[in-house]
Amino acid sequence: MGYAIRTENLIKRYKDKTAVAGLTLTVNEGELIALLGVNGAGKTTTVKMLTCLTKPTEGRAEIMGCDVVKDSENVKRLVGVSPQDTSVAENLTVKENLEFMADICLPKEKSAAAVEKTIKAFSLEEFKDKKAKLLSGGYKRKLSIAMAIIGDPKVLFLDEPTLGLDVLARRQLWREIEALKKNMTIILTTHYMEEAQALADRIVIMNEGKVMAIGTLEELENMTGRKGLEDVFISIAEKTA
């Protein structure tokens, strides 16, 4: 199996702020990586660089062997993104939103079936003819995630997917993510430790744009001598603070 993502000393500098300070990371195909870190650690910036939404200042990054800068056209075909901010076309219905994304990401003949499948997978049947702007925040979020998945990406980026979801919806989304895991590589950012613990194959802890630790939960526990991800995270985050 090859690498789904490979970055080498990836740096993003804004005018007065280095958001990502030399990220080197490889993610295997089919892996689910949880990206943890306090607010401002650089998670979203990392996702943006890997999805061609912002250009790296320095360093290199490849998605399935395609360079995110030089070969962005192919990268855009390979990735799906659910941005941190819910983003849907407000005046379109749930179904129309999904149809739209399917139309721009999939061959014509696959589009209708993908819409049906996604509506079912995300239990959106009841709302499919409702305008997106009339959905509750949580359902809008679900729609936003569904729109990232409908194009059947090879690598899926979920930036804080369960933000604003109730406990039941979060658990349901976990199951949906679990089911996707078989078909794609997933990078997920989150502030919920139990979410990372439940879903991730490996966990990456970032702080101030740098990777502080990377590994399975067990490896991180051994490294820090703490039990449970929350304690591991706190010990790593505090050490660098």
């Binding site: 939404l53 855009k76 075909r77 076309a89 005046n91 139309d103 721009i104 990401c105």
Partner: protein
């Protein structure tokens, strides 16, 4: 192409579901047509003012209506740019051409519907006011105003790309007032002459109005039809290409 059409469909739905676009793009031109016809009937024949006679008025209103298409294009683009939805599309396989045509095509369709509705209203008015319009002229006008529709959508697109949701509509209103004046929609700039006419000759609006009027009256003179057609087509092409370039560079700047 597939992506352009998908995005155009989305934008068309947005336009059709917004009651304001029906009011401004469809109802408003008809209302103006009726009001100005009433004004016209109050003007004594001896005054020799034919500007509001239905054959002239219909062409003017057709262009006036397109100025609102410009406004709606600007609002649509500016609104999308302020939200997260467009950002998400930047990481999809959509290219800048898909964006430009995706916004402009639905507006062209709206413009065609608009001009058909306005001209049908003009026919009704002409029947009431006992002034006959040529059907061939009306049909020609539907086609002849498509270049100016493209021109106005591109101007709107440019405003929407450069300015935010708050600034873009205001700037469009300035173009609407200015364009209506020097475009000779509400009075005879050519007759008035002076600075207004000089300015009018340098901008495409006057030519758009002249072209629409010439089409309706089947006047194929060089000064009335061919020259205005050339100017408007040229302006439409330049502005559409410019829209593509500007959007592309904006897209890049957003990724910095």
């Amino acid at each position: 192409m597939k992506r352009t059409m998908a995005f155009a469909k989305r934008n068309l739905i947005e336009v059709f579901r917004d009651p304001l676009s029906w009011i401004f793009c469809i109802a408003f031109p008809i209302v103006m047509l009726i009001i100005m016809s009433i004004v016209n009937s109050a003007i004594p024949k001896e005054a020799g003012n034919t500007l509001f006679r239905i054959d002239n008025l219909a062409g003017g209103i057709a262009i006036f209506g397109q100025m609102f298409i410009m406004l709606f294009t600007a609002i649509a683009v500016a609104k999308d740019r302020s939200g997260a939805f467009l950002t998400r599309l930047y990481s999809s396989p959509m290219k800048s051409g898909d964006f430009v045509w995706g916004y402009i095509l639905p507006m062209l369709l709206t413009a065609v519907i608009q001009v058909i509705v306005s001209l049908v209203a003009a026919v009704v008015i002409s029947l009431i006011s006992d002034y006959s319009l040529s059907i061939a002229g009306l049909l020609l006008a539907v086609v002849a105003v498509i270049p100016s529709a493209l021109m106005f959508s591109s101007i709107g697109f440019l405003f929407g790309t450069f300015f935010n949701e708050k600034a873009a509509p205001g700037l469009c209103s300035i173009i609407i007032s200015l364009g209506a004046m020097i475009g000779g929609i509400w009075f005879d700039v050519e007759g008035v002459g002076g600075f207004m006419y000089k300015l009018g000759r340098c901008l495409p609006f006057l030519y758009a109005t002249k072209l629409a009027r010439a089409a309706i009256t089947l006047n194929f003179g060089v000064k009335e039809f061919l020259l205005p057609l050339g100017v408007v087509v040229f302006a439409a092409i330049v502005l559409t290409v410019l829209a593509g370039i500007v959007f592309n560079s904006r897209m890049r700047a957003d990724q910095r």
